[in-house]
């Protein structure tokens, strides 16, 4: 128990009021969204101004594929760096960490050039693949695996498992917490990303939900009710993820500092 301030009932009340006011302010935008958007929700899928249903599907595919891909690629790489002895490891590790100094958003122009040369414009590959290689995630997994109990691994080894077998059957099942934490944050980040899909998804068949929303918002004649309804639909899946997996999310944020923007 923290003694600080508990003895002052006036202070406690003042703090309570301040919290309540702040909470109302933070919830106000959601209230506005529901107030102005709910009525027009049926229109969202009937309207053909933008292919909204398709964009929801695209966002889902992109977010799921990106989350799964990142978890797989970054956890294996993190494990390799942490636990597979190799003389060149420091060089590789530094080459990975060095890219942290160059924020991915700054490389969007050159990345666009690469993706367009691959012929991946307006293509889900172009939306998903370049985002899979997060040095930050690798670094976090490496830190985590450095502390992974060696005894558990050795037990697996004695059972005749290969290195890959140990990783898959011993390390991963005992690390679900970190996977869940990183995964939830990746999923939310992927669902909400905007600049990259804006640049890559030119053809409306590849628009993500954020691009569809933005084009409605920056249109010559924005239709406010439709906008709000579309926005409400777009945050529904993510609010669901938030509410169901908040425990992992909070853990992920507090233990890794991931997800700031």
């Amino acid at each position: 128990m923290r003694p600080v301030g508990y003895r002052n009932p006036v202070g406690a009340v003042a703090r309570g009021v301040a919290l309540a006011v702040a909470a109302v302010l933070f919830l106000l935008p959601f209230a506005v969204l529901v107030r102005d958007g709910l009525a027009a929700v049926p229109e969202v899928f009937a309207d053909d101004e933008v292919p909204f249903a398709r964009s929801l599907l695209n966002s889902t595919v992109v977010a799921v594929a990106q989350t799964a891909g990142q978890l797989l690629l970054c956890s294996t790489a993190g494990y390799g760096l942490a636990r597979v002895p190799f003389r060149g490891e420091p060089v590789v590790r530094h080459a990975i960490v060095a890219t942290l100094l160059v924020p991915t958003a700054v490389t969007f122009v050159p990345s666009f050039v690469v993706v367009s040369s691959l012929g991946w414009l307006s293509d889900l590959r172009g939306l998903v693949v370049p985002g899979l290689f997060s040095a930050l995630n690798v670094f976090l997994f490496r830190q985590y695996f450095l502390d992974f109990p060696v005894a558990l691994e050795e037990a697996g080894r004695l059972d005749g498992l290969s290195r890959w077998g140990v990783f898959r059957r011993v390390v991963v099942p005992n690390s679900t917490g970190v996977f869940a934490a990183v995964g939830v944050i990746d999923f939310i980040g992927s669902w909400n990303q905007f600049l990259w899909p804006l640049v890559i998804a030119q053809d409306s068949s590849s628009w993500t939900v954020q691009v569809a929303l933005s084009s409605l918002l920056t249109a010559q004649n924005p239709r406010v009710a439709l906008l709000f309804a579309s926005a409400a639909v777009s945050i529904l899946p993510i609010v669901l993820v938030f509410v169901l997996l908040q425990r992992h999310l909070v853990r992920g944020v507090t233990e890794t500092g991931l997800g700031g923007r």
């Binding site: 600080v4 703090r15 919830l27 958003a105 290689f133 929303l213 906008l227």
Partner: protein
């Protein structure tokens, strides 16, 4: 562990990622550096070598310098406000006795929202120029005329819109970091301070809480700094429209977007030079501030 087998196992784990990083990070950076020395208007495979012209262009382009200057100011403003707000709310949530989890969730919920959705809410409702926008309704109670929030340049009211949207989205994230850090401060430190006669308000905060938060403060400041320079989504969606983007409040990424890919000229050479300069600025700022914060901490 013999060298060759070890190497094989290592690359089996690290190889796929390393290859991807090579193709999607190192190649783009290299290609960008290459493009920045060419006249690459409307093409990604340029042939006309122009030396440092693109760099000269970018570094004398007022729009680019403005974007860096403006964003240094933006960062200088938004970072302290974010820290004070998120820390203040974290202290409140940390001490409240009922509904602690509820309050944390409320402040954290906007984290699930995208900047596009926030921009939409802010631009068309909360800060719309009409008298029935929420912000103008508040002004109305105070007897002040409705303001065109996004459209007013002098004084620059659009900053209120952009900054408050960013605060709404990111304060909860930092608040969660702070709450966790507060909970890691051992209770006995507070008790000791209390026994030493420290008053429960400012003195305790100054001598117990703040020192306990040093590590997380450094992290929060660095994250904030890098993120402020990368601002794009809310600016593009609040200030941009179907015709493009106004000449003010252009973050560096908005500049790069319109220069290299938007209607502003499809000049990938200049855009690449700008990206290289910006990457250097951010790297430098990160390293410098990291060093400064670490020394201070």
């Amino acid at each position: 562990m013999s060298g060759r087998r070890g190497a094989l196992a290592f690359w089996a784990f690290v190889g796929p990622f390393a290859l991807g990083l090579l193709v999607f990070t190192y190649v783009p950076i290299g290609w960008s550096a290459y493009l920045s020395f060419f006249d690459a208007r409307n093409t990604v495979t340029p042939t006309v070598f122009v030396g440092l012209d693109n760099y000269a262009d970018v570094l004398t382009d007022r729009a680019f310098l403005d974007s860096i200057g403006t964003f240094t100011a933006f960062a200088a403003f938004v970072i302290p406000v974010t820290v004070v707000l998120s820390l203040g709310l974290a202290l409140l949530v940390d001490r409240v006795r009922i509904a602690k989890a509820f309050f944390r969730s409320v402040f954290f919920l906007p984290f699930a929202c995208s900047y596009v959705v926030a921009a939409l809410l802010w631009k068309t409702s909360l800060f719309s120029g009409l008298a029935d926008g929420e912000a103008n309704a508040v002004l109305g109670w105070l007897g002040v005329e409705p303001q065109a929030w996004v459209g007013t340049v002098d004084p620059p009211l659009y900053w209120v819109v952009v900054v408050s949207a960013r605060l709404w989205l990111q304060v909860g994230f930092y608040l969660v970091l702070f709450i966790a850090a507060l909970q890691r401060i051992p209770d006995h430190l507070y008790e000791a301070a209390w026994l030493d006669g420290a008053s429960p308000g400012w003195q305790t905060f100054r001598h117990v809480t703040l020192p306990g938060l040093r590590g997380v403060l450094v992290a929060v400041l660095l994250l904030n700094l890098v993120n402020a320079y990368q601002a794009f989504d809310e600016f593009y969606n609040i200030l941009g429209d179907s015709r493009g983007y106004p000449p003010f409040a252009r973050p560096p990424l908005v500049y790069l977007y319109y220069t290299s890919l938007g209607s502003g000229g499809q000049d990938l050479g200049r855009g690449s030079a700008g990206a290289v300069v910006l990457a250097l600025v951010i790297a430098l700022a990160t390293l410098l501030s990291g060093r400064v914060f670490r020394r201070a901490g």
